[in-house]
């Protein structure tokens, strides 16, 4: 968990290597066997030109980033809004990053508003978005 929750704080990144085996494993775990993820010959004939990772797999990495930073506050009081900008493909190294943009008080409850991004090893954005986390108590967040 983050030792200090304050505006401007960078969240430690989560780095994952994508390969077809992981994509297949996710398909089995989630039940999502869309051929764009698991059928290489089908995917090769689409405009994407090959298989891509499930968007929800990449979001799991974003959620891991937020869970490691905020613990149970994220799990039961998190809010996420993201856009998939480009697919993650087998062979990609995906880095999920985040930063606390502001600490906001609404009706006596503090929220950490964060910007999020996932990019690949070529610095191409895969996911961009925002998240907010309801913090357990005002005294714990070091708000400015």
């Amino acid at each position: 968990m983050l030792a200090e929750i304050r505006k401007g704080k960078t969240i430690p990144p989560v780095i994952k290597h994508i390969n077809q085996e992981k994509i297949n494993l996710y398909a089995e775990a989630s039940g999502d066997f869309n051929p764009i993820h698991v059928n290489e010959s089908f995917a090769a004939q689409t405009p994407l030109g090959g298989t891509i990772a499930h968007g929800m797999l990449i979001l799991a990495y974003v959620s891991e980033l937020m869970t490691l930073a905020f613990g149970q506050s994220w799990l039961s009081g998190g809010k996420l809004s993201i856009r998939f900008k480009a697919p993650a493909r087998p062979g990609d190294i995906v880095t999920a990053t985040g930063k606390i943009d502001s600490i906001e008080d609404k009706n006596g409850i503090s929220y950490a508003n964060c910007s999020l991004e996932c990019h690949n090893q070529r610095d191409g954005a895969i996911v961009i978005g925002e998240a907010s986390v309801k913090l357990a108590g005002k005294e714990e967040n070091g708000s400015e």
Binding site: K16, G31, I36, G55, L80
Partner: protein
């Protein structure tokens, strides 16, 4: 069509299902030791799969955006009810998109999660 509600789907978030999920997302030990709770993205993933099953999405459909709100932690072994409806249908040039709303409840009818997914359909 917009407003159409899909038949609700239920999932039991069994220990074996969640172990398989945690392995698939390459979860570190720190996450696994958060213990007996189901990761919210696992709940979202099963809700999305239930939705995709009801929809019979065409091969090649891809996820364009996602919103999620987490309200409640669920213990492993809990059963969820997933409700999905079509919020909007969009056409931009050759692109066709579906915006779907999903709500997940536990067995005491308390809301666990809500979300909105935009799915891009192949031309």
């Amino acid at each position: 069509m917009p407003g159409y509600e899909f038949p609700p789907a239920s999932y039991e978030l069994s220990s074996s299902l969640i172990s398989k999920y945690l392995k698939a997302v390459d979860s570190p030990e720190e996450i696994k030791t958060l213990g007996e709770f189901v990761p919210p993205l696992a709940i979202a993933a099963y809700a999305m799969t239930a939705m995709a099953g009801s929809l019979s999405l065409p091969p090649g459909a891809i996820h364009a955006s996602q919103e999620l709100d987490f309200f409640k932690l669920l213990p492993i072994g809990a059963t969820i009810d997933c409700q999905t409806k079509v919020a909007r249908k969009l056409t931009r040039g050759r692109l066709r998109m579906l915006v779907l709303e999903l709500n997940v409840f536990d067995q005491s009818k308390e809301r666990v999660q809500s979300g909105k997914a935009t799915i891009m359909l192949p031309a």
